[in-house]
Amino acid sequence: MRIRGYYRQLDAPYMRAKIVCKQFGIEKTVNFLVDLGAAATIIGPRDAKRLRIPYNQLKLVEGGVSGVGGRAETCLMPETQLVFRIETGNFEASFHHLLVLEPVAKTLSKDERLIPSLLGRDFLNQMALLTDKRQNLVLITDEFLTV
């Protein structure tokens, strides 16, 4: 199975996936920055608004989540699937809980507007990740690659 991504602005590797959370009737497509520096996959504030996530119905992560920009309030979205495009159709990855960054105020700050959703190690470490900007190649596969 192979999931192909693409390079975007600032030469950053991205993957797109459909986020499905039946409990809250969410089914929307999101671009994820492929980020081995992120311990977990997380929905950024701009995408969270697009998804219309009902924060008041979600559990908060105690102590929040820390990143380069500091500590942020983070919620847990239950029983969520990310559906990726593969050669033969689609591949579904299930998350018991998916992290969601909560905007500080109703209107997003300038920084929050720019923060992407991240595809983190909780997903990436189950697969092999191959990137090569020279060939515009971003690939996640369950194959065992040998070098």
């Binding site: 693409y6 495009r85 507007r113």
Partner: protein, 82 residues
Amino acid sequence: MKTKTLEQKLDQFEADTIWFDQHYEKFKEQYPDQFVAVYGKTLIDHGKSLDALLRRLQKKYGEETGDIVVEFVSREDVILIV
């Protein structure tokens, strides 16, 4: 109208994202510090308020809103380290 498959929707989302990136410099001049919405390789709406933009998209496109690329166009060049 023929309903798109999930694969077709994901392919279109990728194509629209790449189209947005290709036109980013033009959008910076035309819509600085605004959110823009791209669908079918066309800019379909823009505005300073994300909430207002999403409301308009929902009203006009209904369920299809979930497959519309919505991005922020920053006036300044920002190096993002996450």
